[in-house]
């Protein structure tokens, strides 16, 4: 599979065209990104039907205001 020439392009392409096995550092990185999205995104931003509140990001933004 032909990879894009630039580094950001390669990173994006490899994230999209996923060929890494489980228990590799790339897999760990993806898991961390997913967990960060699931746990840090305020439920209100997603219109979550069962969870409410602004979550950790909302809490942090409130503190910074």
């Amino acid at each position: 599979m032909k990879n894009p020439a630039t580094l950001p392009g390669r990173v994006l392409w490899n994230a999209f065209f996923w060929t890494y096995e489980r228990a590799t550092w790339q897999y760990d990185l993806m898991v961390i990104a997913i967990l960060a999205f699931v746990w840090l995104t305020p439920p209100d931003w997603l219109g979550d039907p069962t969870a409410h509140g602004s979550g950790p990001i909302g809490w942090l933004l409130d503190r910074l205001r």
Partner: protein
């Protein structure tokens, strides 16, 4: 040792004892598979009622059965082609049941948007399995894409235990779309390389 590798090793430790118990009791692996799907139906029911934590615990039990059936088959020397087929078919029922549980819940709450998101996530999850099965009838291997069944199940459990099901559904939907696309692209390129796509 990676983080996910360590988690896998820790989880495998208690499972070894369960596998040993099933081997000693001579439980047929196909029975384990079937019991797994029945327990998954109970998890789907709990999701439908909005009892996420209960559903999470039931999913853990169901997926223990799902995980150990293949290992027990190897230990008992009962690996068969039908067993592999049966396992794949039953897995699809388990997958779909969990999504239907959520669709029921969201429609009961009057949330048409999440009924659609869950339905699309279900469609692409099924297509993830189908594209690989169909591709591997044409090419040697089609194991690309991140969002496979184990990832889906773990995400469902995380969503259930931490009440973050909306985020989980978005992740499953987007990454399942990528996985299906990856498999179509790989199959097309493999067939083009071997010059078989001209015949199709």
């Amino acid at each position: 040792m990676t983080f996910t590798g360590l988690v896998g090793r820790i989880c495998l430790f208690p499972l070894r004892a369960i596998i040993r118990a099933c081997v000693v009791l001579q439980i047929h692996p196909n029975v384990l598979t079937f019991v797994g799907v029945l327990i998954n139906f109970a998890a789907a029911w709990a999701l439908a009622l909005g009892r996420f934590v209960t559903a999470g615990f039931i999913m853990i039990v169901a997926n223990i059965f799902d995980f150990i059936d293949g290992k027990v088959a190897v230990e008992l020397g009962q690996v068969s082609e039908f067993g592999g087929f049966w396992d794949s078919v039953i897995d699809r029922f388990s997958d779909i049941a969990l999504f239907i549980g959520l669709i029921y819940l969201y429609s009961h709450l009057g949330r048409t948007d999440y009924v659609m998101i869950t339905s699309l996530a279900m469609m692409f999850s099924i297509m993830t399995s189908y594209t690989r099965a169909r591709a591997e009838s044409l090419i040697a291997k089609c194991k690309v894409g991140f969002m496979e069944r184990p990832e889906r199940i773990v995400l469902f459990m995380i969503g259930a235990f931490t009440n973050r099901m909306a985020g989980v559904l978005w992740v499953i939907l987007v990454l399942s779309i990528f996985t299906v696309a990856d498999r179509i692209i790989l199959t097309y390129r493999e067939l083009r390389t071997t010059g078989r796509e001209a015949v199709v």
